[in-house]
Symmetry: C2
Amino acid sequence: MKFSELLSKRWTESNSLLCVGLDPDVSRLTSHYSPDKDGVEYFCIDIVDATAEFACAFKPQIAYFAAIGAEKQLENICAHIRANYPTIPIILDAKRGDIGDTAKMYAQEAFDRYGAHAVTVNPYMGGDTIEPYLVHKNGAAIVLCRTSNAGSGEFQSQLIGDEPLYKHVARRAANEWSKHGDVSLVVGATYPEELAEVRAIVGDMPLLVPGVGAQGGDPEAVVKNGANSQRTGLIVNSSRAILYADTSDPMTAAATVARKTRDTLNLYR
Amino acid sequence: MKFSELLSKRWTESNSLLCVGLDPDVSRLTSHYSPDKDGVEYFCIDIVDATAEFACAFKPQIAYFAAIGAEKQLENICAHIRANYPTIPIILDAKRGDIGDTAKMYAQEAFDRYGAHAVTVNPYMGGDTIEPYLVHKNGAAIVLCRTSNAGSGEFQSQLIGDEPLYKHVARRAANEWSKHGDVSLVVGATYPEELAEVRAIVGDMPLLVPGVGAQGGDPEAVVKNGANSQRTGLIVNSSRAILYADTSDPMTAAATVARKTRDTLNLYR
């Protein structure tokens, strides 16, 4: 099943727009877990089990695994999700971007090796570097549009003609790249006005929205500005606020924060 | 030693502007090598040994390793280069780009895990996502500016004010990011006029130039348009033309093509 179809079903099944981000910083694991690759794996699997009920998607951030050589552990976590929660899509947050031949290798990594349903990609190099993810069997690309970091406007907000770069990216995604396959966009919760502008351009396309939780994005503004005509369309990611909610009983706290975040988002749908 | 210092010494020592790209496609290995992770490792180490004499740098492309789960083999290849050719810088071609906390993890991956001297990064998310590579001990960033692929102009050539996006990236690199650490830029050999424009903006800054060899960039135009005031300043990458030069005696052929490419580049210095 295509990523967008799986996601649509999961939005309905879970009644949730919350995506749980898996960014396991080995220096922040509680004493319940060994501060190493295996600790990272068990921690993430416990987080998955504790929060699955409240999640429309899981988003492992590959940098946290790559930094410590824990690719095998990431494979195991993705396999655990697919085996136990086959209706929940996996988004590999890798922000890949390279020329065609190399992009095919990254697509193989994301979809064949890790079994992700979608991968985040960077548009700077142009549409010919995004297409390999779209034409890969069961592949899907979530393209960076307006990112959540403080400095994201340095290039993304520069005007080309009378519109900023990120709106050009949104138009290309909606009008061109979507002809080749399953495209979504990343728009940060920290820029709710831009979220509304992108929604106006892309119709019902799914938007991955990081920046709620530790980064301070407002859930009300995200839902009001970003929901699509179905009152879904949003993959609202929270990572650190869930993963590190409490040090004494981290999994109970993670479940509680995930449930509350889901419920808060649903208040405004 | 910083990347740019190591590189400067190596330009002199080797009398070469050639960077040998390590893009080992397992499906293209000759029968001398097993078509698996170990074959990839032995193939790359043989390529390194055959071409080191003619190289100012080595550039492993991480996608080819990530696709098949050969991170350990990439670690071994980098360790081989550092142990046997300590004067040759290693550029990890990973085109990373993410928010600050995550970028620190990618910096750890590139510099601590693989022992690379520089890593390629994508500027779309802004300067705050590049700084973590620059402030990492002995770190360096090579930022995508005007890439070699056919569709690179889709956003990079769009005018912001009266200049294309890639020239804004070049100016930021030269005037701002370079204050924080060791910055270079990527400009494709397939766009020699743009190479001259970028050189005019960035002074003597090193430029990584992919696209000579299989992608068809012209060595004469690259050197004439891209060399700096020292008649160096260029890291001219060739991967496939060297790696797959001949199937019967691949290492002799790789050395021959590397030597000829070095000599051709030197003709125009």
